[in-house]
């Protein structure tokens, strides 16, 4: 306790030095918290956009090969697959099945290559809850500053819902007609005219490659039977269970005699070449997690985290030098005091502890303030709903608005890590202080 008292009072006594160091440590903590919040925000965006557009938490999909050289990314007898999943998935929230396709979307003024998701609104009660529509002014020059369109019209007919970036590139809005052009498994080109019924807000990079049409539109285009679909998307109550549940489901399907593809952490569209080169025909099931389907996007998070580590390391290094220098000064200024304490009967270990406690107290105080301010800033920025004006930044953030996600765990990590760095920076001066001979320290003059 006395070491703690001495630490606090010495810090107060050298208040100018303590304040400057606290400011530096606090700012770095704040920056670390903000970077972690941004990284977590990107991760949340990725999860959100991936699990809306590209995958369920787990995907029971596969390939059908009518001949050795032909392959389709479809599963047959989808009803039975869903039954197996629903009966054997612990912690299940719900399942849906989606048709999948790839082709051209043609307007009077432009063409885009995109993926098509075939939805059945009667089956997907959650779909309309997660889609956020854009204002007309977001995708049309001179458009109204209000939301128009109705995604519930995807329930039937030849309809389509686009994202803002596609509507802009194609120069269309709600009510306009587009042509979908795809290629069937036999190599024929099929087309269908569809009417734009809604335009949704972008959700990162993935919105550049996704559109929504009723399932029947894709079935007609690809000439598929009603019990054929693209994939069963499985949603769990906790996404963290995805890996374990995927392994469990693989075991279940294997036990029921289904042929399974080896697990590979790549999206389904990157598997065509491999599958076509393989010597088998018929149906094989492929079970993946959402991460596997968007693995090409996780580089954004990896790159961002690498930048964070690099930046914080440099700042920590600068702060460590500052703390070390400050502690050297403290040791020099208090050499006689150290000599006195040693003469009175303080052990070397306690002298070491005394300086370390001082550094840890300073570190804990500064990092706690910094982390609190960092979290408050993140919440403040979220509340402002800041729109990201630049497409490149949108692509990095995987969102059109700045979104930060503050986790209590990351606050503890920031505080713990930087307090430890502060303490360790003081180790060398503290060791030198503890090794001072009492007779030398007592004779020291400033």
């Amino acid at each position: 306790m006395v070491l703690f008292t001495i630490a606090i009072r010495n810090l107060v006594q050298a208040r100018r030095r303590s304040a400057l160091l606290s400011l530096a440590i606090g700012l770095v903590t704040m920056l670390l918290v903000l970077m972690m919040a941004l990284s977590a925000g990107i991760n949340d965006n990725l999860v959100r956009s991936a699990t809306i557009m590209s995958a369920g938490h787990i995907n029971v999909a596969g390939f059908y090969k009518p001949t050795n050289a032909m392959s389709l990314a479809v599963v047959t007898d989808v009803g039975e697959l869903r039954n197996i999943v629903e009966e054997n998935t612990p912690n299940l929230d719900y399942t849906i099945d989606r048709m999948r396709g790839w082709g051209k979307l043609i307007s009077d003024t432009g063409t885009v290559q995109t993926g098509f998701s075939g939805v059945d609104l009667a089956d997907e009660s959650h779909f309309l809850e997660v889609i956020q529509l854009a204002k007309e002014s977001d995708y049309k020059d001179g458009g109204r500053d209000e939301i128009i369109g109705d995604p519930s019209q995807l329930a039937g007919g030849n309809t389509i819902m686009l994202f803002v970036n596609q509507a802009r590139r194609l120069g269309v809005g709600v009510g306009d007609t587009l042509t979908i052009q795809t290629e069937t498994v036999g190599g024929y080109t099929n087309t269908a005219d569809v009417t734009v019924v809604a335009v949704a807000r972008d959700v990162g990079l993935l919105s550049g490659f996704a559109t929504y049409v009723p399932k029947q539109v894709l079935r007609d285009l690809y000439q598929l039977s009603p019990d054929t679909s693209g994939a069963v998307w499985v949603y769990l109550k906790d996404i963290e269970d995805a890996d374990a549940t995927m392994k469990h489901l693989r075991g279940v399907f294997e036990a029921k005699g289904y042929r399974l593809m080896d697990h590979e952490a790549v999206p389904f569209f990157m598997k065509f070449e491999t599958v076509q080169g393989e010597d088998w025909t018929g149906q094989k099931i492929d079970i993946t997690t959402w991460k596997d389907e968007v693995v090409m996007l996780t580089f954004v998070i990896t790159a961002f985290d690498t930048v964070t580590v690099f930046l914080v390391s440099i700042l920590v290094l600068i702060i460590a030098v500052g703390i070390m220098n400050s502690m050297w000064n403290a040791v020099r200024e208090r050499t006689r005091e150290i000599g006195t304490m040693r003469a009175i009967g303080m052990t070397r270990t306690r002298v070491l502890a005394m300086f370390l406690v001082e550094a840890f107290v300073l570190g804990l105080f500064a990092t706690t303030v910094g982390a609190t301010l960092g979290a408050a800033t993140a919440f403040g920025l979220n509340a402002l709903h800041i729109n990201v004006p630049n497409d490149a930044v949108k692509a990095i953030l995987l969102s059109d608005t700045l979104r930060m996600s503050v986790h209590v765990q990351s606050l503890f990590i920031a505080v713990g890590f930087l307090t430890l760095c502060t303490g360790l920076s003081a180790l060398w001066p503290a060791l030198r202080a503890s090794r001072l001979s009492p007779v030398v320290a007592l004779g020291h003059t400033e």
Binding site: M1, V2, T5, I6, R9, N10, V12, Q13, R336, E337, G339, T340, M341, R342, A343, I344, G345, M346, T347, R348, R350, S437, P438, V439, L442
Partner: protein, 230 residues
């Protein structure tokens, strides 16, 4: 009863560049329990080095220093620290109080290092000691709020609070005016008389020397008698 302090042919040498300075040159000295001993001599004569050897903050280059029957040369740093903590109290010329602690905390500090008394016993002991040196009303003040004489009283209380066998005082009156210095010596003498604590203090002030029960004169690192024969 064996002497509380026993120096036998104690030598202390310090390297000074390429030279070796002999601060203490073969001192034989025996001090009995309860003595009130002054070590006098001119500046640079070796008084402080002698006190450092007796106070176990330094060990002799050769010869032996025994404190309460224990030879300091044979002890590790930790054992020497423990010996200082339990058997020796220090009073310094510049008081050497811990500036960030108040009077109570300064006096309590050695007891906390010992860690042997309960909080209530510690409080009782500290308050008793502070009362003995007459600083009860200043108990919450910090050293920079006290006069020189009051600071030295705090240092005395801190030195005595652990009830050591020996109290060493290095020029305890050097930074005080003569009236305050006299009061400090009176206090030390009173404690020596009442508590039977061995006091050994260095001084070159004749007025202070005259109050000692025994005076050991040091000249050029030797005791005066030996110096005359050297």
């Amino acid at each position: 009863m064996p002497a509380i302090v026993q120096l036998t042919n104690a030598v202390k040498e310090y390297p000074l560049g390429k030279l070796v300075v002999k601060a203490v040159r073969g001192v034989d000295l025996s001090i009995e329990r309860g003595e009130f001993t002054a070590i006098s001599g001119p500046s640079g004569s070796g008084k402080t080095t002698l006190l450092n050897l007796i106070g176990c903050v330094d060990v002799p280059t050769s010869g032996t220093v025994q404190i309460d029957g224990q030879s300091t040369s044979a002890l590790s740093d930790r054992q020497l620290t423990d010996l200082r903590l339990h058997k020796i109290g220090f009073i310094f010329q510049s008081f050497n109080l811990i500036n960030v602690l108040d009077v109570y905390q300064n006096v309590e500090f050695p007891l906390l290092l010992q860690g042997e008394l309960s909080a209530s016993d510690r409080k009782k002991r500290v308050e008793e000691m502070v009362e003995k040196v007459g600083l009860t009303t200043q108990i919450k003040q910090r050293p920079n709020e006290l006069s020189g004489g009051q600071r030295q009283r705090v240092a005395i209380a801190r030195a005595l609070v652990t009830r050591p066998a020996i109290v060493l005082a290095d020029e305890p009156t050097a930074n005080l005016d003569s009236a305050t210095g006299k009061a400090i010596i009176d206090l030390m003498k009173d404690l020596n008389h009442k508590e039977h604590i061995t006091f050994i203090f260095s001084t070159h002030d004749a007025n202070v020397t005259s109050r000692a029960g025994r005076v050991v004169r040091v000249v050029d690192g030797l005791l005066a008698q030996a110096a005359e024969h050297a």
